[in-house]
């Protein structure tokens, strides 16, 4: 399965449900396009739900960092929700886990913005 992205609005927070693989090629470019589109529409509060992400490679990690930087530089916030163990481990060994604001509960994540 490649990547599937679904965007929904919860109050003033844009939640992006990501499923599948965030890898070099279609996966990472689809995520990049979605985040840039949201920033272009001046959406300032973005929550990436990675609960259904089965696989992420270094390119996918790069896209998360790029998205974080793009959203932050536009005055917004990008937070992560529902990391599975593998994604969490990857962010920890790359020392990125503390860079992102990571949540395990959607309601709590929404309130944190």
């Amino acid at each position: 399965m490649s990547i599937k992205l679904n965007t929904r609005q919860v109050g003033d927070v844009s939640v992006v449900d990501v499923a599948g693989r965030i890898t070099l090629g279609e996966g990472s470019s689809a995520l990049r396009d979605t985040l840039r589109d949201m920033v272009g529409k001046s959406q300032k509060k973005i929550l990436l739900n990675l609960g259904e992400v089965s696989y992420i490679d270094s390119s996918g990690i790069g896209e998360l960092v790029s998205g974080f930087t793009t959203v932050t530089n536009s005055g917004g916030q990008l937070k992560l929700l529902n990391l599975n163990k593998r994604v969490k481990d990857l962010l920890q060994i790359t020392k990125l886990y503390t860079v992102f604001d990571v949540h395990e509960d959607e309601a709590g994540a929404i309130r944190s913005f």
């Binding site: 890898t23 070099l24 696989y55 490679d57 270094s58 790069g62 960092v65 990857l90 790359t94």
Partner: protein, 146 residues
Amino acid sequence: MRENKHQAPETVERFLDSTLESVDSAEELAVGVAQRAGFDADDLMRIGMAVRESMVNAVVHGNRYNAHKRVRFSVGHNSQRFTVRISDEGEGFDFESLPDPLAPENIMRTSGRGIFLIRSFMDEFQMRHLDRGGTEVTLVKYLVSK
């Protein structure tokens, strides 16, 4: 590390096009051999990712998607070691110049983590320049405790 339960040695070799489809093929081949060698799900994920990152380096940074250049890929195991070799026909690069992705000034870089991840997931990782040009990487994961 997994105990080897008498799996028969196996070696697979392919010459692959410089495409992202080849990255998927190599990952799939390597994970298949690793599974038959007896690795568990976590190690299969680590091996798959290490092979994927190595193949991306060969296809994207080495051969630069050049349709006239191939990637030589081999995977196999004996009773003690699972080994993957990947070589490209690129111009090579200075191994010593790789920036440390964990250095504070590099943490927010959007690239440069591939080789770091390979080293993290495999027991051995070597790179060498080939006399005929190109770069060969060798990835090893132990099947038995050393």
